[in-house]
């Protein structure tokens, strides 16, 4: 993984000192909260319902065991002994004090981490395929580019006060695990006929109140030109994005208002003016960063499918876990293991400090000391020997991190919701907990197969409900919480937005409705291979409507 050099260290250290002074001035009353707000936000500090929340970047989801231990240490010393992994591959601490934050940031700097721009109207943490560098279907490692873009965007003076936040995601695999279609800029790596890499650039995707799937603005940008092209987009957005209405300020609104062709024209004009100058990525810098992402020293092994199959037959629980939580690795004899942070009844994404330490130890023992955070709020051990899977499984079971549900119904995304968030209309975590308690039978979950449920506590959509195969949105009706269900959303390479099923339901009826939807799918599917999404796309919404709300009352003709 990337390691800081003297420049990176210097910059982060100076940033911590700058923020320390700003906090001192705030505490001394020399800065108003209004003036302090953008400064703290750009250092990842939010003011939530009950306390300050600190959001720490995990750059494109890559984490070392050593860093995870530090995160555990921070959770213990400055928070209530746990942290919360987010849909942006970051970690949040929900109970920190303002006065402690400069020390926390200084601690983070010792393990090459920071919270810069994890909030605020600026370019946020760059996100990526959590299996980057390891997935068997990958054609290019996106992390090299993520790091280049990360550095380009950090403390970028021109774009610190954009109309609104700005999210960039990168994937180097045809199966999009980074949801690039719902980002302000999504980058998809391709090869040309000669096998050289380049970027397809999507723009204007996003969720929130106005969900939009990003549109391809360019199908080919040379790698060394990617920073210049991104700068052209950012400049057009900074100059022309709306600033009069918070809800219309994201780039997607600008792209929609202008139309993609006009927007492309403006970006191209800007790009032409800055092309081939200071933003061209020097080959030496690209090579310098790439060397950090060279494959680790994998042993030369062979896949042991037959043996694993035997183990699976002998131990069905292990088999179920293999099925859903273990993915194909580039290197023969290795596997990518996902750790589920979605045990029944748990808060999705939460992990205690003790478990963080235990996971760090497992990463050292079984995965060359490296981990990943996924946008579905789970952790990943990217380099596990297949021969170690059985043993690792046992260890994970004892930590309650082996729930065999990755990619399945109970692998839910849920935003913090009313329990933490000042903007919420409704609870989201308890709804997720209800559902996970309702669907505990492993066989049934595996029978249902791939299915994502995403839950947001209000229309800001932090829980990505628009792109859940089943989306659940908390709404407020006359002071009561209701939950509106959408079906058919997806965030992969064929991203779509969900369709509304019908009127909102009270919390108690949500698990039953999910069950009715799932049973309808099972009854309608043509084969076990047809996923929920495929069936939904084939049969449409009506059978599901009927299953949840009953037959539509027949209109009486007068």
């Amino acid at each position: 993984m990337y390691r800081y050099d003297e420049f990176d260290h210097q910059l982060v250290t100076e940033r911590v000192e700058q923020f320390r002074k700003q906090v001192d001035r705030r505490l001394a009353g020399k800065l108003t909260e209004d003036q302090f707000k953008p400064l703290r936000l750009m250092n990842g500090l939010y003011l939530q319902l009950h306390a300050y929340m600190l959001r720490v970047n995990v750059p494109y989801g890559v984490l070392s065991a050593r860093q995870l231990r530090k995160l555990a240490d921070i959770a213990r010393r400055y928070d209530r002994g746990y942290g919360h992994f987010t849909t942006r591959q970051n970690i949040q601490y929900n109970w920190v004090s303002l006065a402690d934050t400069p020390d926390i940031l200084a601690d983070l700097a010792t393990v090459e981490m920071n919270a810069m721009q994890s909030s605020g109207n600026c370019v946020r943490n760059i996100t990526a395929d959590p299996f980057a560098g390891r997935a068997r279907d990958e054609i290019e490692d996106p992390r090299v580019w993520c790091e280049l873009i990360r550095q380009y965007s950090i403390l970028n003076p021109e774009f610190a006060y954009l109309p609104r936040k700005f999210k960039i995601a990168v994937t180097g695999a045809p199966n999009d695990r980074a949801a690039v279609g719902v980002h302000d800029i999504g980058l998809r790596m391709h090869h040309d006929a000669d096998g050289r890499p380049g970027f397809e650039v999507l723009v204007g995707g996003g969720q929130g109140r106005t969900p939009v799937i990003g549109k391809t603005i360019r199908d080919w940008i040379e790698p060394e030109e990617i920073l210049a092209y991104i700068e052209a987009i950012l400049r057009v957005y900074n100059l022309h994005g709306r600033r009069d209405n918070l809800y219309k300020a994201r780039i997607k609104i600008l792209v929609n208002a202008l139309g993609i062709d006009k927007f492309r024209e403006m970006v191209d004009a800007e790009w032409e003016a800055i092309r081939g100058q200071g933003l061209t990525v020097p080959e030496a810098e690209q090579a310098r960063i790439a060397q950090y992402f060279r494959p680790p020293a994998w042993a030369s092994l062979r896949d042991i499918d037959a043996e694993l199959e035997l183990q699976a037959t002998a131990d069905p629980a292990f088999g179920a876990w293999l099925n859903s939580n273990v993915s194909a690795h580039k290197a023969p004899g290795y596997a990518i293991v996902s750790l589920s942070l979605k045990a029944p009844g748990r808060e999705p994404g939460d992990l205690s400090a003790d478990k963080m330490d235990a996971v760090a130890t497992l990463a050292d023992l079984y995965s060359l000391g490296e981990l990943r955070v996924t946008h579905r709020q789970n952790l990943v051990l990217p380099d596990v020997r297949q021969a170690d899977l059985k043993e690792l499984f046992r260890e994970l079971v004892s930590l309650e991190l082996a729930t065999p549900n990755i990619g399945l119904l109970t692998d839910m995304i849920a935003c913090p919701g009313l329990d933490y968030c000042a903007l919420a209309n409704a609870r989201s975590i308890p709804v997720a907990q209800d559902i996970s308690r309702h669907f505990t039978a492993v066989d049934k979950l595996q029978e249902i197969g791939a299915l994502s449920i995403n839950i947001s506590g209000c229309m800001n959509a932090c829980g990505h409900h628009h792109v859940g195969n089943i989306g659940i949105l908390g709404v407020d009706k006359k002071g009561k919480e209701f939950f509106q269900i959408t079906l058919g959303g997806a965030s992969d390479q064929n991203a779509t937005l969900g369709d509304r099923l019908g009127p909102g339901l009270p919390q108690a009826e949500v698990p039953g409705a999910i069950e009715a939807i799932v049973d309808t799918y099972l009854a309608q599917r043509e084969s076990e291979q047809e996923t929920f999404l495929a069936t939904y796309r084939r049969v449409g919404i009506d059978p599901f409507k009927t299953a949840v709300y009953g037959e539509e009352p027949v209109r009486r003709v007068a």
Binding site: D5, F7, D8, Q10, L11, E14, R15, E17, Q18, K21, Q22, Q35, P38, L39, N121, Q151, Y152, S153, I154, L155, N156, P157, E158, F159, A160, Y161, L162, P163, L227, R235, N238, L239, R243, A273, I274, Q277, G278, L279, V281, P282, A284, E285, R288
Partner: protein, 162 residues
Amino acid sequence: MALIRNGFLAADGYSPVPADAPLPATGPLLLTLPQWQAWRTELIERGTPVGVRLASDEHPEALAADTNHLSLIALEFPSFRDGRAYSYARLLRDRFGYTGELRAVGDVLPDQLLYMQRVGFDAFEIDSNDPVADYEDAIGGFSVVYQPSGDERVPALRLRHG
């Protein structure tokens, strides 16, 4: 309100002209865009120092052909959250070749001076008890930058490779 120019406390020297007033006979003037457009020919002939103050929704492209005739351009920050003028500044410097004083006015907070300076501002109107100290604090806070931004600082990605 204090004016910092190139790091020093400075006297303004430019006078605004009230709306509807005629073109004053002499002196360095700070005009609105419409005033400049109305008096442009006469002022160019006269050759005395002229500045233009652009509102935040006035694109500096309007001055692209005039950068040689102006010795001051002031860009307005209606709120410190409105970041358009950062891009305006870069366009004026890099695209339109403006080399005169570029002044940040309006809601200008000391904590933003470094960013402003990096995109090309060299003068700042700030509300502060100790403007020079604030300026030096802000500007001196960082010895490393990651990206080219029209200023003289060399970004890390170049320094790393000599």
